[in-house]
Symmetry: C2
Subunit: 391 residues, 2 copies
């Protein structure tokens, strides 16, 4: 109920709609946009010309005629600007430079040993600066920076709590904005991953999906009606701390029997270590399973079971159409999927389950970084063409 309506709003709405179609349905003609949207040809023409003026759209020549004058086809100009996306991990960071369509232009992977907040943020700044410097010449230049982090972020972009990094109350957004003079968006890595999958991955055609990020812990990004749902106060999706055993072992969050104690990468490694009598890493477990080690395969299958237990809870609680499982554990898909699907079949309610798909990510470890870059692009368009949020 904040935003009132005026002519400016109308124009922004329509311009956003027109741009949206040029971005997603291209190549497309003015006439076709008019037909799809219900706007008149005159209106579309005027808005398209403004978009061309501002370099966001371009004409690429005549298309096929269907019995009359040939249409002039329009394309979104993805190279009018560039965005930075970063996936800040516990021991590494993945950073990309993308164009406005999300196409990766350059990519950097850096290891770090998580020495101190200052050292890591310095490394982060260096990485970002290096990418900015490689950006091609363009109308708008680098338009912003998006960041996915393994922790809880508030609406002002402060990283409130990142247990696995050991960080607390870091004003990352304002620090980066001051450093680069660019708009910065920061969000939880699972949220960024969900957006990445929605925009570029298996979730492209789904309005409601949940991305479950399985790493040291378990997090989830929830997309409802094509929009990221952030919960009440901006930090939601701590789904790893839903208890699946009310009197189970104690979790560092204070609760007992949390899902991530059973179904995370960390849980797998710990269990494997106990059974094998020595420390192991995920890669060696995958190799062993591949070579037919029955004990290790059983470990994966057990993990698949526990993954399923939590996924059933998600289904019953959130009722999504599509669940995408991401994180490095995706490598064990072969052994995880069967027990997981069996459990779902047995345990989830019939009605919500009907149209549900469960898959492992096809973007691999890039969902988060792509989602992060897409945050920056979205913010850029919001500031120029803007669809105003109403409630």
């Amino acid at each position: 109920m904040k935003q009132t309506g005026d002519l400016n709003l109308v124009k922004k709405i329509n311009k956003t709609i027109v741009l949206h179609h040029i971005r997603t349905d291209s190549p497309i003609s003015r006439a076709k946009i008019a037909e799809i949207t219900g706007l008149t040809k005159a209106t579309v023409s005027s808005l398209v010309n403004e978009l061309i003026e501002s370099s966001l759209a371009q004409e690429i020549g005549a298309g096929e005629s269907s019995g009359g004058r040939k249409p002039m086809m329009l394309l979104f100009n993805g190279t009018a600007g560039y965005a930075i996306g970063v996936d800040l991990g516990v021991h590494d960071m993945l950073a990309v430079l993308t164009d406005l369509t999300g196409k990766v232009i350059r990519e950097k992977r850096i290891q770090h040993y998580n020495e101190s907040v200052e050292q890591v943020t310095n490394l982060l700044k260096e990485t970002i600066r290096a990418l900015i410097e490689t950006a091609p010449q363009s109308v708008y230049g680098v338009i912003g920076i998006g960041l996915g982090v393994p922790g809880i972020v508030d609406e002002e972009g402060n990283l409130l709590f990142a247990p696995n990094l050991g960080w607390e109350n870091v004003s990352l957004q304002s620090e980066l904005e001051a450093e680069f003079g660019l708009p910065v968006v920061i969000d939880n890595e699972a949220n960024a991953g969900a957006v990445g999958e929605k925009q570029f991955g298996a979730g492209k055609d789904t309005a409601n999906l949940i991305y479950v990020s399985i790493g040291m812990g378990i997090g989830a990004g929830i997309i409802i009606k094509n929009e990221l749902y952030r919960g009440a106060t901006g930090f939601s999706g701590e789904i790893g701390h839903i208890s699946i055993q009310h009197d189970g072992p104690k979790c560092r969050c204070g609760s007992l029997g949390c899902w991530e104690l059973y179904a995370s990468e960390h849980a797998l490694l710990e269990q494997a270590g106990r059974e094998l009598g020595h420390e192991v890493d995920l890669e060696s477990l995958l190799t062993k399973a591949e070579s037919g080690d029955a004990g290790v395969i059983q470990l994966f299958e057990r993990l698949g079971y526990y993954l399923g237990v939590g996924v059933v809870n998600i289904i019953n609680g959130y009722n999504p159409e599509f669940i995408i499982l991401g994180g490095r554990l995706a490598g064990g898909e072969k052994w995880l999927m069967k027990p997981l699907l069996e459990l779902l079949k047995k345990r989830s309610l019939p009605h919500p389950r009907k149209q549900l798909k469960v898959e492992f990510s096809e973007l691999g470890d890039r969902s988060t970084v792509l989602g992060a870059a897409s945050f920056a692009v979205t913010k850029f368009f919001a500031s120029t063409t803007v669809s105003v949020d109403r409630s």
Copy 2:
């Protein structure tokens, strides 16, 4: 991305905003509305006059001057029309006639023995008809019917599945619309309850709340940013079937260890029956606890513990500001609340917990019926002044 912008949209937006302020901040003057909204006095004046024309607002005389001409105070005209709300329970129904502000004009409580779908719907129709006939004369008459039902409802108002009623695939909405020629809205009783609490109960000032309805089963209505969240396909909130013990007893939903097996009214009665050696009802248990029966009190405390387990899951998964516990179990608040709060304190994550409140409903068994009536009112306004939904 469906709705395009035009002058009509602008007017609808602004008219809705103006009406909103007249509904919530009344008595209020035109000048004050202009000041709050940022609209010009001319615009507000014009819109207010149209609202008066259509009987939704009225002038009630001059207010206090603050150093100039006295303002003409405006009031929402709650008696321009009336709405019907019904809470269809398993063995009873509660139906009300309210005015457009939600004030209850008349109320009917009917027992039924759930004989057959036809018999119960006939009783439902009779009850509604009786209430419609008692509606006072008004400009718009009875503007619609809202219904809360103990089951899963799709977007077309079909009751897909109501285990405790034993109903399946009943086209209630179309049947009632045909019968009365009025708009009908049907939703899950927990969703209706959540809206009721949000509009008229303890949740009035909270944008994000969850209403947990504890009855034979457990359901939840989720309100995010002042709007009901219905999940992907329209039926969410089956939160009673989130498992709190992955290898627990089998639930009729197919899963194991569902929350409602531990924390529902049904669970309490069953447990009590086992321990006491004979069947009991909730009233007698409350009486016994009141008179100091240690065994029964312990039963309630144990239930409080299990309620807490599920509430922690809700907190970690949805991150609401306010959790309202409703249903007949509210009578045991005295013994339930302490173990519940203790558990929350121990087990929920520090960040989400910060600004959280947990309370029992103050509307008692009326949250659902009031929410249902409010559905009808909302639909009425959506069809006349309409704030257009965009995505």
